[in-house]
Amino acid sequence: MTDMTSSVQSTFVRPAQARRDIGIKKRYAAERRFKAYGLAAILIGLFFLFVLLWTVVSKGYTAFQQTAITLPIEFSEQIIDPKNERGANPAKLMTANYPFLVRDALIKALGIDPANKPLVKQATDMVSASARTQLRDLVVANPAIIGTTANVSLLAEGNIDSANKGQIDLTVAEASRKVKDQQLEWMKKLTETGAMAKQFNTGLFTYGASSRPEAAGIGVAALGSLYMMLIVLVLALPIGVAASIYLEEFAPKNRLTDLIEVNINNLAAVPSIVYGLLGLSIFINFAGMPRSAALVGGLVLTLMTLPTIIIATRAALKAVPPSIRSAALGLGASKMQTIFHHVLPLAMPGVLTGTIIGLAHALGETAPLLLIGMVAFVVDYPGSPMDPSTALPVQIYMWANEAERAFVERTSGAIMILLIFLVVMNLGAILLRRRFERRW
């Protein structure tokens, strides 16, 4: 017995050198390497996402603050209206020499010798040139202010603002620096007296285009974008839903519908700039619509968004089980009634999710808008979609081409606002899906 068991065992336990080398160690190492590559790939993707967002936020968060200089402005009658003509001709107030008011206030606040022209120039350079319109509007709105003294908060010039936020390298020689030592001294003085302080930058949300960074904002561009989104929503949603209903529920399976199907899938992948060319040639050249108008932008974005909405809607319609249709038809509803009373309402969450995602895509789109003339310097709010306007991403593009430090900050700030819009829209789409989606 013992002999037998030992002989059986000897067949099982081979000597090490006789064992076939199947390279298990090597194979496991390869397995670990392969898995590590995959993990590394994901980490690379996430790393770039992080760097991208960090770049935008770290460069942009300062844009939400703006340095302001509060000065006691003496609305002296001698400067605004020396010949006392404003009673006869109120337009005189529009052309008065308001920068002098700022100059005098600065001379007083900083204690400069008024005869020292270069020094006075350096001082007035610290205040944004937009102070002129600001004071003018104050006086025109309330002429009684003339002859009194009031504290007015003026925007600091872009470079001073940057210096106040510590973004200007002060180790650079004074001559090659935008902010001079004398100005830095004054800034210190003004900050100590509390005249110069950082405030929340409401202007970023309300102003329009400006060549001076401190007076530039995204308000006008955001309104243009809003117009376009409304046009896209009003046109693309009904047309997209109608087209998908036809294709999904009514269309016979033939060559034509096959062609439409391929066509829609292809349109979803056409480069967006091609839609810009289409808009330029059809809407502007052929139909004679105005350039730079939100209407044309909205139409172009509508055409661009339609395939997205159609694809999403068709998927949502397809997901509604046939039993719903059979039940409605069996109770005597017509096909149209079945679809509009039963299938479409059940598919609506999916349709809306697709629409929101399409809208979010349209909101961030820049290239087609460049071609239809929306790279425009628009200062005033557009009153209607026919007026010249610009869009949020186009404004970002225009700012990105500006060299000044303060514009880099504003570009990032505007990108943050755009991204927040997109995040809100996408979160809305996700919540909608979570809340209403049914699994059949």
Binding site: A41, A243, I260, V262, S272
Partner: protein
Amino acid sequence: MSTSLILLIILIVGLAAYFAGRARAMASSKGKLSVLHSLPGYHGVYVAIWAVLPAAFVLAIWLLASPFFVENSVRSALPESVHSQGSATTELMLGQVMQVANGLKLLNTEELAAVTSGSSNLRDALAAKGVPMANAGETYMVEAAQKYNSLKDGSRWVMSAVVLIIAIAGAVFAIRGISAPFRARNRVERVMLGALLLASSIAILTTVGIVGSMLSEAIRFFQSVSPSAFFFGTVWDPRFSAAGSGGTEGQFGLLPLLAGTLYIAFVAMLFAVPVGLFAAIYMAEYARPVVRGIAKPLLEILAGIPTIVYGFFALVTVGPFLRDISAQLNGLVTGNYVNFIQAQSVLTAGLVMGIMLIPFVSSLSDDIITQVPRSLRDGSLGLGATRSETIKRVILPAALPGIVGALLLTASRAVGETMIVVLAAGVAARMQLNPFEAMTTVTVKIVNQLTGDLEFNSPQTLVAFALGITLFAITLCLNIYALYIVRKYREQYE
């Protein structure tokens, strides 16, 4: 009456027609609704359709056609001296007449009388109202302009009247047809079906519009520049010609742009494909559900970020970073701290575009890998293969056609990408192989040629459409082939 007012009135008539139709149906049912073939609402909608649709149709036709008629009759009313100078002058004069006509509306009766009798200068009178005129203007212009105005006003009044009559007549006609057995629902549903069909034909119309508009503009371009000089030219130098400098036609060679486009797309794919593919494999085969649930949406955020943001990222972060690091490297090796990578370069644009493409590659491939049937995977694992061996020898070969399709779709996106290359690739059109130098792309040149002040008939702007149709053709081929592969692949495993 303004067009929007007419539209509003039509809609009000339609609303009234709806209620009238409904009431009529209710009345004809004599209190027993079940005798009606269709619900009263359908009768109402039927009447409303008859009220609104024909009227709106006539309105649209009239608005499109009337300018031609008015212009034609004014044109024929212009004196013989104008016609004898050829059609270009006639059109110019016609344009001026319309300008005058707009101006005349702003004048009051006395000024108008003075202008008509010729006692006051037309140009000065109009300039005072803020209407500029190219030349002094002549008396026949005032006559023609008045004729133009009266024709236009007359046409408008007739149009309003006709449209209103049609709306009311349509409603009355439809109401008279209503009776209990009338099949209103079927009629309404037929109109609805027509509307649905119309909506779905917009997709076709868009493609026809894209091809038609770009082709017609491109043909105008090819009338001044020969196709062979465009498609095989190796120099891009459009030279916005200064006035009067003869012989500066400019050269429109496509090849440098195409080379730049393909090179940048290639660099982007070189970066995005391995990263995206490995990420997809890890998520489909290795990742635990929790990891997948976090990593997948995070990666997809990359796909939702607008491309202008990537462009800005390339411009302020990646470009300067590559430039500085190349200067440091160069300095460490040779002691000469000069950068060999330009801030705007093929590498910068390709790298950033690659980041943008990662989620496209990964989510498309993820879908395809997870579609490979479970049985293939189990068979391979059961035979003792490790997971990576299963992936490399079984799953990837099975998924290969689908993955190739996904990569082609991604490549089409890379070729058509605009904002990143506008900000990161530079504008120098040259053919070279150094990825550290700037090159430019088709899309950048489309944007360059079409932003700013346009003079629409010059080859300098029309070339954008020739570039556009080239781009469209390239992406169309890529897309259709890719969609074909993906579709065929999907059928294989469904």
